[in-house]
Symmetry: C2
Subunit: 400 residues, 2 copies
């Protein structure tokens, strides 16, 4: 068979959907066979709590009061000025940041924040270092920008960043490090101590090399923390930090594609980098972030989704799984549990789990084999109904 004369890399990406999406699709098929209520799908990080009422009210008000030509028209490429201003002011208020609208570029969500920033920074062959485990699409985004992804194993057990190990992975080719805290897939929040150690290591390396390693802080889960866990504001620790944000999780709007890139003035050559982010947005075809959502954000930067449900889900599932003998790091944020696969074979464990209609995601593509990810942004009722299945799964492995 003659293969179509098209881009092979894009074809591969399109033909091999992520294991997360694949599991989710299996769940839909299985639900049609045996009924939705009999499938326990923990595959997808799709928020299960509704957007805050203020978001819905603001959208309704905009549609009622704002003339459609202004409401739905092109915004300037970096975003609507009042929105950029509101985002900057919110960060200043919360983190004593030193930002204005000139530092804020509105995007179509976290993925766009990352692809625009990576395309802005990367020259072919550059390396992007990332502490494992990490969101698998980082590899896709980095490679599409012409970079090589360099994973660094975590501290076993705690899943904090192993800074000495990360230091050994830095090279002349390192353009940036991506950190994601609260972390997908572990739910771990990196501590101030570890992040300070990281900052010191990156500063020393950058000074020695004579050019900065940029730190990309991917923060879609920033607001999703429990028990008052602290998520340090990284630009205050490391000056060359670029923040990639999304409102997908904090405002439960994952389908609407709205977020931002913040390039603080503390980043060396920040104006050139900001311009290059704008250039990347243009080259990739983003034009501007969706205008209605931008205008909503101007009034909702400090809105928050209901964390009580996620917290209840976490406590219920973490408690039940550890009671069954499963081993799992205690998550302080996000809505994921990262469970060790008995026998360290994540794929076999996920297959076995499917016998009990439990849909889990193997950790291999997260750069940390031997685990499974459970997304508990589901209904509390489904979690309750799934517990006997987890117990059977544990029994099948002789854990109880």
């Amino acid at each position: 068979m003659i293969m179509a004369n098209i881009n092979r890399a894009m074809l591969r990406l399109g033909q091999a959907p992520s294991v997360i999406r694949e599991t989710f699709e299996y769940g839909n098929t299985r639900a049609q066979q045996i009924g939705r209520e009999n499938v326990f799908d923990f595959s997808l990080g799709n928020p299960s709590v509704p957007a805050p009422e203020r978001v819905t009210d603001t959208l309704r008000k905009l549609l009622a009061d704002c003339p459609p030509v202004a409401l739905h028209g092109y915004t300037s490429a970096p975003g609507d000025l009042p929105t950029r201003r509101a985002v900057a002011e919110d960060l200043c208020r919360r983190f004593s940041a030193n930002l204005t609208e000139a530092n804020i570029y509105m995007t179509c969500g976290a993925a766009a924040s990352l692809t625009c920033t990576l395309h802005a920074l990367v020259q072919p062959g550059d390396e992007i270092v990332v502490p494992a485990p990490f969101f698998p699409e980082y590899r896709v985004f980095a490679e599409a920008a012409g970079a090589v992804l360099v994973p660094v194993p975590p501290v076993p057990g705690s899943f904090q960043i192993d800074v000495p190990a990360l230091r050994r992975h830095l090279s002349e080719k390192t353009k940036a490090v991506i950190v994601n805290s609260p972390n997908n897939p572990t739910g771990v929040v990196y501590t101030r101590e570890v992040l300070t150690e990281l900052s010191d290591a990156l500063s020393a390396f950058s000074a020695q090399r004579g050019s900065p390693v940029y730190l990309l802080s991917d923060e879609p889960y920033r607001e999703l923390v429990y028990d008052g866990a602290e998520v340090p504001y990284l630009p205050a620790l490391y000056p060359a930090t670029i923040v990639c944000y999304s409102y997908s999780k904090s405002l439960s709007l994952p389908g609407e594609r709205i977020g931002y890139v913040a390039v603080p003035t503390s980043v060396p050559d920040w104006q050139e980098i900001f311009a290059a982010v704008c250039g990347a947005g243009r080259a990739l075809g983003f034009v501007c972030a969706p205008s209605l959502m931008q205008k909503m954000i101007a009034a909702c930067t400090d809105a928050a989704c209901d964390m009580a449900t996620y917290r209840l889900n976490r406590d219920l599932l973490y408690g039940a799984l550890t009671d069954c003998g499963f081993s799992c790091v205690h998550p302080d944020g996000a809505f994921y549990l990262f469970v060790r696969a008995p026998g360290e074979d994540a794929a076999a464990f996920c297959q076995k789990a499917r016998q009990f209609e439990l849909l889990l995601v193997p950790s291999d593509s997260f750069g940390c084999p031997g685990y499974v990810r459970l997304a508990y942004c589901v209904s509390t009722d489904m979690i309750r109904r799934s517990l006997p299945a987890f117990r059977q799964l544990a029994e099948s492995y002789g854990l109880i």
Copy 2:
């Protein structure tokens, strides 16, 4: 000065905004100096008629009736199934097309439709042939995908495609031809005769070469035609046609970023190309098209904006400019006039026009020097007030 060690191409794109954007920004500055009512800004293709009431009503209804988790959640990557189905059915109904949801990939607007399709098709060094004049961002999108843009001069006067000339620009490296009808910047609608001639030329060339030249039909202005001008449905003329669509102009929603790619089954290897488009959307960071807008489209594929205003604007401006002695192709679609610059120096003409507070866009970046583009998607009142200034401009060139 040491230059930042970042991507130079993206920096250049960010530092050199398009001449359209630049003119628009000048207009805003000038409006602050002398009052908005004294500046006649014809720079930007930002629709001036409101979105159809059905669009607003549908958005309101969705916000009132649809649970937020469903309304704002991730859709599947190619789009929400009912939306893709509605788009396919609309095309089947209007053009006797043979499409299902499997052929439709929802995008964040026309720019995204083009970048995803180009990234899906292009291998480094491929050539993308485009009849001039053309939307300047085609060059940006093609180069970002690793291709070389090859412009072909139009038939003088009519601005139809010069098919024999285009034929001479095809090569072993030609991956695709982009056509845009109704055309930005001329407003010309390519005739069925010319498109049939193009199809014959591409078919013969593809057969001889043994691999298809793809035709990308960029159709944001499809619905914006006057006096019943026909816009032939290109897949019916040339089987290897991929349609890149946007609702930006037809529903006056340019800031909302909603459109689609249609890959008909008549395209050789259509399933692989569709997969590669999905792969490109993933690699570039699109995730999915904005979900609220997708759900609105499912109910509004056949809504239409008010063409009476654009038609009035066209007749008023075309009549006045030709009366003044300016030379201009009669536009049958879109909302642009393409006027010959006296002395054939577009930049000098635009500078001279600014003395009369008329903001026009020089045609050089459209691949067709010696003209200016006027976007008449402005208020009819502004056009009326601008007419004395055009008369003075004509007098300064001795045209009257």
